[in-house]
């Protein structure tokens, strides 16, 4: 390759222009680094989260229950199924050696194939795994309950299925979280981990023998598996599985993430294969981190973030590399002209540009990839404690020491290389075409820009008014070609890319926050440290309150009472915006028509429940004053009054009106209630004796996110109202309601806090005590998987914006430096005819203002267009979430561009304060 004269000359010029070559190289390295960060970073974080998810429930995406051995074999053959483990449910058996015969009298035995132990993260506390169907390991819970069971012991008995019969004549017996409903006199099968039988008036438990006898030798004690329920009546036990024979084979499936569409796609294929609706369990956390979740929001976010980051990196890199080539156009024209005069063809001239690009890319690839990996590793170590904290909030049982190691495969490296090659090709394309197009005569003359024949009118005003700095600045910015354009372009690119990236990142964060925030209200009190939440219907409520009030270490108690599905608002009290939003969401579902809406709108709107938040009168008055409400009504504690939270969101996630939703819709309404201050506000509710009841409250005014800020945070998927104590009494007296109380308090005494914590612990499930105590800060920090992803996206988005800014900064510096370097002769000439430093500074300042104005003007147009396009794409992806206004960041970035370009111009000009003599004797500019 080095025998090619064009390449040799190009190489020579590359080494002559070290600084320019270094900047181009840095740009390409930065591009590779960023690509590596995106692809390896995503893979590393996802692999870590995958590991976390696997540690939680196991390394499986889906479990298909109750299959025949043949069906299981067919599924194992499916293309997108990577790994499987077979298990068989043997059901419950009496556990003679139990340490807690009241709460946990049974064992629940499952037969596991060897793969299942690994896929379900079964870890041994002692002993070994079962090697056949006669060996068994039992959960450590048995030992913790006080059982004397040990390795070598035998467990024998008959297996049975559990069921319950409703003996309560009050009506249907419901266990909503287990999906069990039993009518009076009827019997229903219950899961193996159903709670312990306690003699009660509601149901009796039945045991139906399966016909299988169990005779096991205990070979190990396992750590409590994640599927074992602490409140269940069974201790988990696992035996080996030689061959599945029954019709209750369970298949644990790990999908091939490269080939699989998702767990739900596999579910429907299994259903159509078996010809029945099978029972499945999905590992949502693991699916989410593989972008195969049933929650389309998470999948879309993961995919969108990857595309968004890649596109922006490519754009920033293309502009930087293009600029580097474009700036050296004059010099290139000259040496290529020389080559052209001795017979170099257009193709050879173009090759010169490509040679330089790839000569830089070649060393940039390994160094960029290594640097990127280093950066990902460093960042992952810095961010790990944050991830750990977030994950431990989701699942306190997760181990804290999950290693966060670099994770990537050949495919990631290949993608990085391909993306970088494409980016460099695109960057070099226009300069290469331009160079190729320069006519041989112009090439030979070394004319970078064709000499035009146009006339340049004398700047009479500047001349007559004696403003040489203005004359020079105006003309140098309007009459010099590629260098000025390059700076204007760099300023435009700097502001546009950072602006659009920031806007994109902030919108993405906002979208992710909106879509991942759990709807509802949260207190935002920083003046209370602890809270106890309790249901009024439980006997414990008055006891809890009494305990707190009697505790001398507990200070003032602030009580907030809330209801969710007890009262509704009449539809005539809702605005048209609410109807329109609800309709837009309704129409988003396939098959829904205008006629359907008109027919059903009353029904849809009628079922609009209002969430009530009852606050004490002092708090009510405070919120009212912040919301500029009618204080006469707000401060009248004797009459029921309401403050209406005038924001509500309607989304296809929350208001489901069909099976298939074509695209996401999210509409935020900020004018919800069709009432005025002082108007009567009606609430409807049901009373088991009186039937439908109507409650009248006085509208004190309206509040929104801003006016409740610092006291409450509300994610309004629905309607929210704040009511005073009198209104609370009216509602609870009028309708069948089971409100929840949140009792906020402070307690400085450690012993007292410890005692209360034990009393109101989540694990303390005694019937008399349903109250749960938490730190207010923990309550506010409670996060879901989606919120963890939101946090990660936020961190990545800001890191990414910082990196894009770095590329833009490099680009701007390169342009300013290039212009200053190419103007050294001009500078020397001006100095030689007596231009002072002060005049230079003034000239540079005027130039800066002109260049900035031009750059910012272009940027304003570009930003508007790009932000609108970005918004359009985001709305298509995520619905019309209210995004942040780009105006303030735009002003900030423009100011930053002004400061940076002034500083850089000053710096570069000082550097170009060259030897006048050598410059004025130099032949060409």
């Amino acid at each position: 390759m080095m025998n090619n004269i064009v390449f040799r000359v190009t190489r020579k010029y590359m080494s002559l222009n070290r600084r320019r070559t270094a900047i181009a190289f840095m740009g390409i390295v930065l591009m590779v680094v960023m690509m590596t960060c995106v692809f390896v970073g995503k893979q590393t974080v996802m692999a870590y989260l995958d590991k976390v998810a696997s540690l939680d429930k196991g390394s499986w995406h889906l479990i298909a229950y109750d299959l025949t051995p043949e069906e299981a074999k067919s599924i194992m053959q499916m293309e997108d199924v990577k790994k499987t483990g077979i298990s068989e449910q043997l059901y419950n058996m009496e556990f003679q050696a139990t340490g807690d015969p009241d709460e946990r009298p049974f064992i629940d035995v499952k037969a596991y194939s060897a793969e299942c132990f690994e896929m379900n993260n079964i870890t041994l506390a002692e002993g070994r795994f079962p090697e056949n169907s006669r060996e068994l390991i039992i959960s450590k819970t048995a030992i913790e309950d006080g059982s004397s069971i040990k390795i070598g012991d035998r467990i024998t008995g008959d297996f049975f299925k559990r069921s319950i019969t409703n003996i309560n004549d009050k009506g249907t017996l419901e266990f909503p979280f287990m999906g069990i409903e039993v009518e009076h006199g009827k019997t229903a099968e219950v899961p193996v981990n159903f709670m312990s039988y306690i003699e009660n008036d509601d149901y009796v438990e039945n045991h139906t023998p399966t016909g299988v006898k169990g005779d096991f030798t205990v070979v190990g004690i396992m750590e409590r598996p994640t599927f074992e329920k602490i409140s269940g009546a069974s201790i988990s036990a696992l035996c080996g599985l030689e061959e599945a024979t029954g019709d209750n084979v369970n298949l644990m499936i790990y999908l091939d993430t490269e080939k699989a569409v998702g767990a739900y796609d596999l579910e429907s294929r299994i259903n159509s294969m078996t010809g029945r609706d099978n029972r499945f369990e999905t590992n949502e956390m693991l699916l989410a981190f593989s972008a195969m979740s049933g929650d389309s929001n998470i999948n879309t976010i993961v995919i969108f973030v990857e595309i968004f980051f890649t596109v922006f990196i490519m754009a920033a890199s293309v502009i930087l590399i293009y600029n580097v080539f474009n700036m050296s156009f004059a010099e290139r024209t000259k040496y290529l002209g020389m080559l052209s005069s001795v017979g170099a063809t257009r193709r050879q001239k173009r090759q010169s540009i490509y040679f330089e690009s790839f000569a830089l890319l070649l060393p940039a690839l390994p160094s960029g990839i290594l640097l990127g990996m280093g950066l990902v590793y460093g960042a992952s170590q810095v961010l790990k404690p944050r991830f750990d904290t977030m994950l431990s909030i989701i699942k306190s049982s997760l181990p804290k020491d999950i290693p966060l190691t670099l994770s990537f495969g050949v495919s990631e490296i290949l993608v990085i290389i391909v993306m970088c090659v494409v980016t460099v090709l695109v960057s070099a394309l226009i300069p290469a075409i331009k160079i190729g197009r320069i006519a041989p005569v112009e090439s030979a003359k070394g004319a970078a820009e064709t000499v035009s024949k146009k006339h340049y009118r004398t700047s009479v005003k500047a001349l007559e008014k004696g403003r040489p700095e203005l004359l020079l600045a105006v003309n140098s910015t309007s009459r010099s070609g590629h260098l000025t354009k390059s700076i204007i372009r760099s300023i435009a690119v700097f502001t546009t890319l950072i602006m659009v990236t920031l806007y994109g990142a902030q919108s993405l964060i906002k979208i992710v926050e909106t879509k991942t925030e759990e709807d509802g209200w949260m207190p935002d009190f920083d003046d209370y440290e602890y809270v106890i939440v309790d249901e009024h219907a439980k006997n414990s409520y008055s006891n809890v309150k009494e305990i707190l009030e009697k505790d001398e270490n507990v200070g003032e108690i602030k009580e907030i009472v809330t209801t969710s599905f007890d009262v509704t608002v009449p539809i005539n009290k809702l605005t048209d915006e609410v109807f329109d939003a609800r309709k837009a969401v309704y129409m988003q579902f396939d098959g829904n028509t205008e006629e359907d809406w008109e027919k059903n709108r009353e029904i849809f709107m009628d079922s609009m429940f209002v969430n009530t938040i009852e606050v004490d009168d002092e708090e009510f008055a405070l919120l009212a004053s912040k919301g500029n409400a009618d204080m006469d009504i707000a401060e009248d504690t004797s009459k029921p009054a309401v403050l209406l939270y005038n924001e509500s969101a309607f989304s296809t996630d929350f208001y489901i009106s069909g099976d298939n939703c074509s695209g996401y819709k999210y509409i935020l309404v900020d004018n919800v209630f069709n009432v005025k201050k002082g108007d009567e506000f009606i609430l409807n509710g049901m009373n088991s004796v009186k039937g439908e009841v109507e409650m009248k409250l006085a509208t004190a005014g309206f509040v929104d996110a801003d006016s409740v800020k610092g006291r409450f945070r509300i994610v309004p998927n629905g309607f929210y109202i704040f009511i005073n104590r009198a209104a609370g009494e009216l509602i609870y007296d009028s309708v069948d309601s089971i409100p929840y109380s949140c009792m906020f308090f402070n307690d400085d005494n450690e012993e007292s806090v410890k005692r209360l914590s034990q009393e109101f612990s989540r694990d303390n499930e005694s019937a008399m005590n349903s109250a749960v105590m938490a730190r207010v800060s923990e309550l506010n920090a409670a996060k879901s998987i989606k919120q963890v992803i939101s946090e990660i996206v936020k961190i990545l988005a800001y890191c990414f914006t910082a990196m894009i800014s770095l590329v833009c900064l490099l680009n701007l510096y390169n342009s300013i430096r290039g212009r200053a370097a190419e103007r050294t002769k001009e500078t020397a000439s001006l100095r030689s005819i007596g231009m002072t430093d002060k005049q230079f500074t003034k000239m540079h300042n005027i130039e800066n203002i002109i260049l900035l104005s031009k750059g910012l003007l272009i940027s304003a147009v570009l930003c508007t267009v790009l932000c609108l396009i970005l918004r359009y794409v985001m709305v298509r992806f995520f619905g019309n979430v209210r995004m942040t206004s780009p105006l303030l960041p735009a002003l900030g970035i423009s100011a930053a561009a002004a400061v940076i370009s002034s500083v850089m111009t000053g710096y570069c000009s000082r550097r170009s304060k060259v030897d006048i003599i050598s410059e004025i004797r130099r032949e060409t500019v």
């Binding site: 004696g466 004359l471 030689s832 007596g834 002072t836």
Partner: protein, 229 residues
């Protein structure tokens, strides 16, 4: 009347073994309105002398007194002001501002001095230089000779005390070179403009009132030419 006096001018570059003596004790004086040419082989110190006289370079020692001011004592800003008021420089490679048209280039030093445009003078100069139809052209749109004429116009516009020309015809063909020389001589003769011309063209040098011969940084001959052409 003496307009320029040079006293024992020394200029050294480098140090130790690499020390080069570009000017070695050069002294002379020039009268107002005189046309002096400096001649010598390459590396004799001609350009160094001109740069020091023009205030774009500083001597290692010695004095350069122009119209009563020792320019070696001036600070950078004062020197810049002095340059634009008292010195007109004409270079071999023109050194015009590529972004300014003919009019703007000529008027630039005058404007830099904070003075307003003398339109009449500008018109006269442009007309005298034969550039009327090129007034709105940028240097890149002009030929070498035209660019050098603009450069002379720029040097003359502010009525400097001394016009320094560094090989002004070195980059031009013979005919154009002669036209430029004629222009310089005319300004010297008609406007009593002191002119110091650096050249290694002996034929051109001999058109001056006096010729200084430089060799190895030393003024070896200061010769008055008897007949001016």
């Amino acid at each position: 009347m003496e307009i320029l006096r040079v006293e024992n001018l020394v200029k050294e570059y480098g140090d130790g073994d690499t020390k080069i003596m570009a000017l070695d004790g050069v002294s002379f004086s020039v009268e107002k309105g005189e046309f002096v040419s400096v001649i010598g082989p390459s590396g004799s110190g001609k350009s160094t002398l001109l740069h020091i006289l023009g205030g774009v370079d500083k001597p290692t020692s010695g004095k350069v007194i122009i119209d009563g001011t020792d320019i070696c004592e001036l600070g950078e800003d004062k020197l810049a002001v002095f340059r634009r008021r008292q010195i007109g420089l004409v270079y071999q490679f023109y050194n015009l501002m590529p972004v300014l048209n003919v009019d703007e280039n000529i008027a630039l030093p005058h404007l830099l001095d904070g003075r307003k445009l003398d339109k009449e003078r500008l018109d006269n100069i442009v007309s005298h230089l034969g550039l009327e139809d090129r007034r709105e052209n940028l240097p890149s749109q002009l030929s070498g000779g035209q660019q050098q004429r603009v450069s002379i116009g720029r040097a003359l516009y502010s009525r400097p005390a001394i016009l320094l020309a560094d090989e002004p015809t070195g980059n031009l063909d013979r005919k154009t070179g002669e036209e430029i020389t004629a222009l310089l001589k005319e300004s010297n003769r008609m406007q009593k403009q002191t002119l110091i011309l650096i050249t290694h063209d002996e034929r051109l040098a001999m058109q001056a009132d006096r010729v200084f011969y430089l060799e190895d940084g030393k003024l070896i001959k200061n010769e008055t030419v008897r007949t001016r052409r």
